[in-house]
Each structure stands twice: as C-alpha cells, then as structure tokens.
C-alpha cells in the first residue's frame, strides 16, 4: 500500500524506531526488519498503520511529528558523537542513543522520546497480527 504521509526515508526511520522501541528484532521472529538503509518498498505494517493515523491528524501535529522524526534521525551526530544517522546505528548504539533521549536532562528531548515511542506503540499494538500475548489463549490481540 502506498503511504499517504511519510516519504520512504521517513518510513525507514519509523520502521527502525519501531524495532528498537517495541523490542522486536530478527531473533524474536515476530517482525523481520529489512536491511537498514535499504529501500522501503516493503513497508512494515506498523509503519502503514502509523502513516494512516498521522494522515488523519491536524496539520500542526503532523508538522511536529515530522520535525521530531528528522531531529531524531540526525541527532546521533550531535548527541551521540556518531557520524551516521539513527537508522544506520548498530542495535546497541541505537538503544544507547534512544536512552539518552529518554533520560535527557532536557525536557524537550524527553518529550520527543515519549511522543515517538507512544506513536510506535500505537501502530504496533493496534495490529491484529502481533503475537505479543502469545502466552494467553483467549485474549484480545493488539487493537
């Protein structure tokens, strides 16, 4: 499905962000991330859900979300001392970088962390195919 709001670069940021925020990676087997930095032709379903949600938001929220995404993508250079964008960090460095936002002494960085985190959760846990509750037998799936 064609994305309505995000461009391929942004979709790639979101996809990697979701992997790290939700704690899924290829070893878990729930969601197989494609290679980092590659084309996003095969968008992860979570990104599609987030895209549909953000498309329906007021313009001012959309603008803020887009800015936050780009800020997050390019700030490893500023805050992490890494000369590469977020999507090209190793898993360990990506987690360290995210934690630096979550625990920053600057309220704005904590705010952006929470905003990005919660939107990825919204996309991820609203998907019916997520088997995160696999230890239960008759519970609702992600909605």
């Amino acid at each position: 499905m064609t994305l309505q709001f995000f461009n391929p670069t942004e979709a790639d940021i979101l996809r990697v962000l979701t992997e790290r925020m939700v704690g899924t990676d290829s070893s878990v087997g729930w969601e197989q991330p494609s290679a980092r930095g590659t084309s996003t032709a095969g968008h992860a379903p979570t990104v599609t859900t987030i895209d549909a949600f953000v498309t329906g938001l007021p313009r001012y929220v959309q603008v803020r979300f887009r800015r936050a995404l780009h800020l997050f993508q390019w700030c490893p250079i500023l805050f992490g001392g890494k000369l590469c964008p977020f999507t090209q960090l190793s898993s360990r460095d990506a987690d360290t970088y995210i934690r630096s936002w979550a625990e920053s002494r600057f309220g704005l960085r904590r705010r952006l962390f929470r905003g990005l985190r919660d939107v990825t959760f919204l996309g991820y846990y609203s998907r019916s195919s997520i088997g995160v509750y696999e230890n239960a037998t008759d519970e609702p799936r992600g909605r």
Partner: protein
C-alpha cells in the same frame, strides 16, 4: 433532524431562538430542555455523528474519530496529554460512565468564595434527578465488578481505606472489554453506554432541534453587548478510505475472538465547505473547557474581568501498574466500577486530595502507560494479563490558562504547583501500597526511566524522583474552569444563571463554568448544571 455538514457546500443562513455550540454533556442537555420548552434550536457540532455499530475498537481509528486532535492534544510543554471528545455526544461517547454528583462541600465553597447562591445541593437536586433518569444512572451490581476492580477493592480493604462501588450510566451491559474507552459498539437507548448521543440528543431532535455536524463555529457574534448568533464553517472531509489497514479482532461477550472487516481510516484532514450564519436570540456555549474560551477569544468578545481562559484545572492523572502472580485480565468487563475516595476530605482540606481509580484500556494505551522501551518494555507487556493498574486522579488547585495563537488555535498552559506535586507523589505511593496490599508482586510507574518496586522496596524512592514534566506520563480527561462562574463580574466570567456578565444572551453550560476543580468525574455535574441553566433560560425567555 441531523444535517451532515460535510455535505453542505453552499453558504446558508438560519434564524432560530437558540444556537447551541457543542453536543456533549452540556450542549445536549441544554438543546433538549430548550427544544422541549418550545424554542427553536440548532445545535452545531464540530465533529461527526457516529453509528455505534461502526465502533471497531481499533485504537488509532477510534482516536481519530472520537477525540480532538486524534487524542494528541497536550499542554504547551507537552507534559500533559489531554483527551477531549469530539463528535455528537462529546466525551460521553468515550468516557467510562462514572456517574457522580458534585460533592456538597464544593458547592458550599462556591457559595462562600464566589457568591454562587443558586447552586445549593437542594437547588441542584431536581436537575440531578432528571439527568440521572434520562441517561439511566444505576448502581453497578456486584456481579458486574470485574477482577481488576475486585483486586483494587481488596487492596483498599486491607489498607483500611474508604472506597465504594459507584453508579454508572449504562443500560444492559455485557461488560465486553476495556475498549469501552473507544466507544461502545452496542450503545442504543437502554443498552450499553447511555451517552448523550443515544439519550438527550434523540430527545432534542424529537422536540424539533436541528443538529448540524462537521460544523466548526468560528465566531460568536455580539451586537450592542448582546449575543445575536454565530458564524461557522462546514468541514468537508476527504472521505476516501486509506485502504484496509489490516483485519482487526474483537472480543465478544463470551470471550471468543471474532474477526471483522478491516478498519478503514478515512483521511480526516478536512477542507472547507459552505459557510453557516446563524441568527439567534441566545447562544449557548458548550464546546468544553478548552474550546469554549478559544471561541470566546477568537470572537473578540468583551472580557472586562480578564478571566476568560484563566483558572484552568485538569484533574491530572498518573497510572501505576501492579503485577500479580495470577491473571487479572483487566481488559474484561466494566473497566471502572469501584474507586477509593479515602484521600478526598473536602470539608477539612478543600484544595487537596485525590481519587484512586482502577485503570485499564486498549493494549496500545496500556503500552504507552508502561515505562521504558525495547526489551524491558516488551517484558512488561508480555505479562499484561497479570497487570492491575490504578490512576491517581488529582483534585488540583494548580491553575492554568487557555489562550489562542495567531491562527486562533488553543494554547494550553498549565504547571503543577508544589502542593499538587506533593499530593500526586503521595498518591503514587498510596497506589503502590494498595497494589501490594492487593497481592501485587511488583509495581511500575510510567517514568521514562523505569522504576520497578518490589514489596520490600522503600517507596520513598518515588518521593525522591518526584513529578518532573515530561519525565512521567500525565493525562487529563477533565478540563474545567476557564469561564468561571461567580457573582463578581470583576473576578468571574458568567453569573450563577450561566449568563456571561459582559455579553447578554450568551450562556455557558459546560465544565468551563466550574470556579474550582470539582474533585470527581464531572459528566453528571455538567449535565445537571446545563439542565438548570437551560430550564431557567426557557422560563425567563427571552433573555
């Protein structure tokens, strides 16, 4: 009659006795009472009308359909997430149906401090009775209390704290799930959630009121100090679906999983349709405590007291999760039936206190309430069936303000004072104590850096961490107080009949009226005050 505003592409003008702005707990009641009194009434609603059978329980879809800004509205500093209903029925479509009358101590305080003589408990009693009959308020029965609420009650009992099973405005209710928070799919008269959309609004329409949806009021028009109508803009949403997101599932009454059609999330970015001009003898403002002052300010109405938009209270709330050995399955049944009001002693301490409410919701919202990210977070979510959670709901004396930016959009400023920070912190500690008393093995708080406490942990760690903006998730569902009521026009915006001091013929019937926080869930009080104000207006017609 309901007119779908998104289908109106031409400019239209209408003349009526009363124009009601908003169709939630205040607007719906006022519209019904005024229409039944024989006045011609139009109701203008910014959102859409809902067919409850289309409520899918899909979180992103329903956030977009039922909430302002898709549920993403926040205070200016981003520290408090404010959920407010949008659409016919307003917040009564998504709220969790606590039907609580305003405490008498609050009314006595309003009389003493704000000179409000008209709203004594006995004066309001008849209005409460009428509202409760119309929305079917009834006592929640013991067999309707789910495991989550039973666990919380057990903990309160062990601690020796006061709490009671509450009343609610649901009819026959199978207690299907925590998706109640995203709209009740079986809602109809006498069945399921008795929101304004299935109670007061149909009665208003039957009495002749006309309801325009997708109609955003831009200005209240006043001439010679008297409100004479409004101007509005119909919003014509793009209606093409974005396509099938994915099939969704829902939990039926019996616990079986049903697979339904995919949620189609329409592109809700809207374009403008026709303009709507309403000429009226009175305007009733019921757009909520954020949008009502916004509309006032955008209309450049007189504000001699300089109190319009001030005195905002939010009932800030923080989630505390407890993990049990056994399954709690908190998503099953009626989400909230019991609460602890032990820490609300308004006679002795009118400015402080909090409620401890059971809390649960759709998985995406539960996830957002959990701390941390990545593996740590996922480990918590994997045992979601054993989570029981509480909300600390603060009776806040902190005061914020609603202003507008150059585009006319609301800016919400609010900062907790030291007193309220201390109360919230104490509420978190009490919540953890209650959860442990109920049998929890560990508790978590929604700090960005997680705090997990075991039974033997020193809970003073919470006090050390304190309440810091954007360090802990704070939510609000009860904005109130931005057009406050009182007898002194120098300090308040409307008088005790609900009429604006400075603009005759302009009446306010939503939670912006409250001069202080009312300490309890406000739906019933908003509706009762709207009943009283509307009936008085009808009796003394014309204004």
């Amino acid at each position: 009659m309901i007119i779908q505003g998104r289908t109106v592409t031409q400019d239209i003008t209408e003349s009526v006795d009363v124009c009601v702005v908003g169709s939630g707990a205040g607007g719906a009641v006022a519209a019904k009472e005024l229409a039944q009194a024989g006045l011609s009434v139009v109701v203008l609603e910014a959102g859409e009308t809902h067919d409850p059978t289309t409520f899918t329980g899909n979180t992103p879809e329903m956030l977009l359909r039922l909430f302002w800004d898709g549920g993403m509205r926040t205070t200016r500093d981003g520290s408090i997430l404010i959920s407010q209903g949008r659409g016919v029925g307003g917040s009564t479509v998504h709220n969790l149906c606590y039907a609580v009358r305003i405490p008498n101590a609050i009314l006595h305080r309003w009389k003493a401090e704000f000179g409000i003589q008209d709203l004594s408990p006995s004066n309001l009693s008849a209005s409460f009775d009428r509202v409760e009959a119309t929305i079917g308020v009834n006592q929640i029965r013991e067999e309707q209390v789910n495991q989550l609420n039973r666990s919380i009650r057990r903990g309160a009992h062990v601690m020796g704290w006061r709490g009671t099973i509450q009343r609610h405005n649901r009819g026959a209710c199978p207690g299907c799930s925590a998706d109640c928070l995203l709209g009740c799919p079986i809602s109809q008269p006498g069945v399921g959630k008795q929101s304004m959309a299935v109670s007061y609004i149909p009665q208003a329409l039957e009495a002749g009121a006309r309801l325009y949806t997708d109609c955003l009021v831009e200005n209240i028009v006043a001439e010679n100090g008297h409100a004479v109508g409004v101007t509005a803009q119909f919003r014509s949403r793009h209606t093409q679906p974005l396509g099938q997101i994915e099939s969704t599932t829902s939990l039926s009454d019996g616990g079986a999983v049903q697979t339904g059609n995919a949620a189609e999330i329409a592109d809700r970015s809207s374009r403008e349709g026709g303009k709507f001009t309403v000429r009226s003898k009175a305007v009733v403002l019921a757009a909520g405590a954020i949008n009502s002052p916004q509309l006032w300010l955008n209309s450049r109405l007189p504000d001699p007291s300089r109190q319009v938009g001030c005195n905002l209270h939010l009932h800030p709330a923080i989630f505390v999760g407890g993990f049990f050995d056994e399954a709690v399955d908190a998503y099953r049944g009626i989400p909230q039936s019991f609460y602890v009001d032990h820490f609300l002693d308004l006679e002795r301490n009118p400015d402080n206190g909090y409620l401890l409410l059971p809390a649960f919701g759709p998985m995406a919202l539960v996830a957002a309430s959990m701390p941390s990210f990545g593996r740590e977070h996922r480990d918590l979510m994997q045992v979601h069936r054993s989570i029981a959670a509480l909300l600390v709901l603060l009776h806040d004396c902190s005061s914020g303000r609603v202003t507008v930016n150059r585009r006319g959009s609301p800016i919400i400023r609010y900062r907790l004072n030291q007193n309220d920070r201390a109360s919230l912190t104490q509420g978190l500690i009490h919540s953890a104590q209650l959860l442990f008393a109920a049998g929890a093995k560990k508790t978590v708080l929604p700090y960005t850096r997680r705090i997990i406490m075991q039974r033997e942990s020193n809970l003073e760690i919470i006090r050390q961490r304190g309440i810091v903006e954007n360090d802990i998730l704070i939510t609000s569902s009860h904005p109130q107080g931005t057009l406050r009521m009182g007898s002194d026009p120098r300090k308040t915006v409307v008088d005790s009949t609900g009429e604006a001091h400075a603009v005759k013929g302009l009446f306010v019937v939503d939670a912006s009226l409250f001069p202080t926080s009312i300490a309890v869930p406000p739906m019933l009080t908003v509706a009762a005050m709207a009943d009283r104000i509307a009936r008085r207006l009808a009796t003394n017609w014309p204004p």
